[in-house]
């Protein structure tokens, strides 16, 4: 099963995402920002990093890349997309997901092992988790505070579209401690913490993150 990983100039976790896909049993295919070719992959991961230096707003410039035009069209037809960290920011800037990610409330870049609760295991990216499963994966970003207006928040909560929530000390001031959300259809998921850095306990705080990647592979096979 082929899953694409997009590399933008400034992407950092693209190789890690590819490693996670392979570890989960999939085939990672590298996609280039400046091409609109999705190379017949069945799903896409937008990896973490600082696309274009994140100089304007995180993810803002990347959302105009040719590959994103293809991804937006496909995503609107149900194509699975996971945006991690910068990828989440790009998804918001592309309006595939509502809201925005803003400066952490402490104003610092924050790298730490973060406990999350999986709030929705119905999405193609989280189906392998038990409901309300608690996991531990790295969080690392400077602008991870999820913000949206009250109406959007009510919709997200009402439609059970909060995918994961921070547990314990609030890391960044996100509304309702939101760590990840999905679109209405559930195929597009944005997640601030980094599952691709938690695929083996040797190099991460746990191997909990691998389930995001096995989930999508199972969902795709089951189709």
């Amino acid at each position: 099963m082929k899953i694409g990983v997009v590399t933008f100039p400034g992407s950092l976790d693209d190789r890690d995402a590819a490693r996670a896909i392979e570890r989960a049993g999939g085939q990672a295919v590298s996609l280039w920002h400046n091409s609109d070719d999705l190379k017949e992959v069945s799903a896409v991961v937008l990896p973490g990093g600082f696309s274009y230096g994140d100089y304007l707003r995180c993810g803002a410039i990347a959302s105009f890349a040719p590959i994103m035009q293809s991804i937006v069209i496909a995503a609107n037809h149900g194509f699975p997309v996971l945006g991690i960290c910068n990828g989440f920011q790009i998804l918001c800037e592309s309006h595939l997901l509502p809201g925005a990610l803003t400066r952490n409330h402490e104003l610092h870049f924050l790298c730490r092992d973060q406990k999350l609760r999986i709030e929705n295991n119905n999405s193609v990216w989280t189906s392998g988790f038990k409901s309300n499963q608690e996991i531990l994966i790295p969080l690392k970003n400077g602008e991870g505070s999820y913000q949206c207006d009250d109406a959007v928040l009510a919709t997200l909560e009402g439609e059970n579209r909060v995918i994961a929530r921070y547990i314990g000390e609030d890391p960044n001031g996100s509304r309702n401690l939101i760590a990840g959300i999905s679109n209405e259809r559930g195929n597009v998921v944005g997640l601030m913490p980094h599952p691709e850095h938690a695929i083996e306990s040797l190099t991460g705080p746990s191997d909990d993150g691998l389930t995001f990647f096995t989930s999508i592979l199972h969902s795709l096979v089951g189709r």
Partner: protein, 81 residues
């Protein structure tokens, strides 16, 4: 040479931790009359010649799509100098 200025500020209802931190620091430093600070961005856009009104309109489009994220930010565009 005239420049096009785009100012982008977070909407009032959106939390502004930077502005808050600056405000707290100012009060700590003794500027007690300060009741609040909002921090935003300012872009100075240069053009080859004096900007035409069409170009200003175009920049308004750029502000709306690129320079500001209208989900959380407001912007203004004007010519200066």
């Amino acid at each position: 040479m005239a420049k096009i200025i785009v100012e982008v500020m977070l909407k009032d209802e959106i939390l502004d931790p930077q502005g808050q931190a600056v405000s707290a620091a100012m009060v700590r430093l003794g500027f007690n009359f300060v009741t609040g600070v909002r921090q935003g961005k300012r872009f100075e856009i240069s053009t080859a010649s004096t900007p035409t009104s069409d170009q200003v309109k175009e920049i308004e489009k750029a502000a709306e799509t690129l320079l500001a994220n209208t989900v959380i930010e407001n912007f203004t565009v004007r010519v200066e100098g």
